[in-house]
Amino acid sequence: MAIVFEKPKMLTDKPTHYCPGCTHGLAHILTAKAIDKLNAKKVIGVAPVGCAVFAYEYFNCDMQEAAHGRAPAVATGIKRVIPDAIVFAYQGDGDLASIGMAEIVHAAARGENITVIFVNNAIYGMTGGQMAPTTMIGQKATTCQSGRDVALNGYPIHVSEMLSQLQGPCYIERVACYDVKHIKQAQKAIDKAFQNQVEGRGFSMIEILATCPTNWGMSPQDSLKYVEDVMCKVYPLGVYKDTTKEEA
């Protein structure tokens, strides 16, 4: 019988702690599949602080657990001393776009030859649903219970748009995982983000619009719908930067 699906080699057998309907599991699979395709001799991942803090138990390669927001700096340190390794950082929106903003901007500006998987669910998941830098105007969180108010909390940060203004990055794309078509597109984008690293093209980041049914207070199905109907309007999908096209 033909095998139509296998667990990626780059994932361990450890059951994940992610909530039902959370996008992290899928983001792990897509990342692991992309790395599997490379047949790389050396792979090192960097886990964030946040919901994906235990990513080092799920990715089946050497891993380092970084301090909150510092994954791009840790990944830089690793990549510079082992340039022939595939090095990736896996971060959420609080980690990357709030406390770790300096680290991601400067890693991108330096054109570090690393791959960053940025999972944006517009909320702090692990700590219980506080406002994130990417929480949308009007979106409720435990620290903005009537919804994000611009007068009090300012505006959400559009990371892909912002980083694409820098000269350093090679490839920046925002994807979503609310249906099969978009999951396939996300896989394609992540594959390319890793392939760029193999080819030494520099910094690649894929932003994945993700669900958080637990902290959004929605069912998994409604959460997917929310990504499609609400998040994708605030955070439009697409390729924001691709220097491989400019070269062609």
């Binding site: 390669c61 891993m63 510092r70 700096a73 840790v74 595939i86 300096a102």
Partner: protein, 354 residues
């Protein structure tokens, strides 16, 4: 090959680090240690090493975490406010048992303080500094040559104990020029990567994880005890100090770093005027030479101790803990970037002695 050179403390530390096998430097500009990153920026490429001027001290120490965790001999340098920023990363490095070297050319504080020499970072160096229960092996060299000698072996110690090592200097030590003998280049090209290092080559059951997260209380408590067992070994094997004329001394002056050189001249002055003074200079600040202080305190000739520091009194607390009430322990210090003279110390001892 050994070489004799006239070098600034900062440059000498940088060259000694390279000769000691350092191949990755991450740093951010701050006075008075800028010669270290400047030197590393041209020297590292010459030896095939890595240099990055990071966007912040926070980022620099986390680059050290990554590179050190991957098995490289990685270091950073900074001065007091910058070291405060690195404390988060240092705590993670201690928790994840990553070997590395951190140089602090101390300036006066608190806050932005000043850029003149000080020793007001003693507490944040020897008591942990960042969050959680941990220590570093902390050296307080008193000359450019001692900076070189300590730096040259610091990575060996860092890897032996899998812990961060701090070299605690001050603005004077960083800026002073002295003749130094530089040791030969160590060659690590054929040394295999450490078995715990995440060099990316292993998968599945053999894979390595660099981490300081222990979510189960029993696991974390065991980790805390593991770290402190190492500190016990440090106390036994790595404690270093220098003594000068202590055997018959009435007054034991204690000082570390450049202040110890000023204090040594004060001892000579006092001896010339008939006061039996001696000097105990801790070279390692952690582990602290507690036992030696206790033994001196038990000697009948010793009447008191005077801790001389460029601070409001920090090391003096460890001296008091070591002397444990057996003899009086006094403090004499200058701060804000001011430095006492040997005459100042001698005068303090003479006046207080009467």
């Amino acid at each position: 090959m050994e070489e004799k050179k006239l070098l600034k403390g900062n440059e000498a530390i940088a060259e000694a680090a390279i000769r000691g096998g350092c191949r990755a430097f991450f740093g951010y500009p701050i006075t008075p240690q800028n010669e270290i990153p400047e030197y590393m920026s041209f020297r590292m490429p010459e030896v095939g090493g890595v240099f990055i001027q990071s966007e912040s001290e926070v980022s620099a120490i986390n680059m050290v975490y990554g590179a050190g965790g991957a098995g490289a001999r990685a270091m950073t340098s900074s001065s007091s406010p910058g070291i405060s920023l690195k404390q988060e990363g240092i705590s993670y490095i201690a928790g994840a048992e990553i070997p590395c070297v951190i140089v602090n050319m101390v300036r006066s504080g608190p806050g932005l303080g000043g850029i003149q020499p000080a020793q007001c970072d003693y507490f944040q160096s020897v008591k942990g500094g960042g969050h959680g229960d941990y220590k570093m092996l902390v050296y307080g060299p008193n000359s450019v040559q001692e900076c070189v000698d300590i730096m040259y072996t610091a990575f060996d110690k860092a890897f032996e104990y899998r812990m961060p090592i701090m070299i605690l200097g001050d603005g004077m030590l960083g800026q002073i020029m002295e003749a130094v003998t530089l040791p030969p280049m160590k060659d690590f090209s054929n040394v295999p990567n450490a078995e715990w290092a995440t060099d990316g080559t292993r998968y599945g059951a053999d894979r390595r994880v660099v981490n300081s997260l222990y979510i189960q209380p029993d696991d974390l408590e065991a980790m805390n005890h593991k770290l402190f067992a190492k500190y016990d070994v440090l106390a036994e094997k790595e404690c270093r100090y220098e003594e000068y004329l202590c055997d018959d001394a009435d007054v034991i002056i204690t000082a570390y770093g450049t202040v110890a050189r000023i204090a040594k001249s004060a001892v000579d002055m006092l001896r010339a005027s008939g006061v039996k003074a001696g000097l105990l200079r801790p070279i390692t600040l952690f582990p602290f030479p507690c036992d030696r202080f206790a033994r001196l305190a038990a000697m009948p000739n010793v009447k008191k101790f005077v801790s001389v520091e460029l601070s409001m009194g920090q090391m003096v607390e460890d001296v008091r803990l070591s002397v444990n009430g057996m003899k009086p322990v006094e403090f004499y210090g200058r701060c804000g970037g001011n430095v006492m003279t040997s005459e100042d110390i001698a005068e303090y001892i003479t006046k207080e002695g009467k």
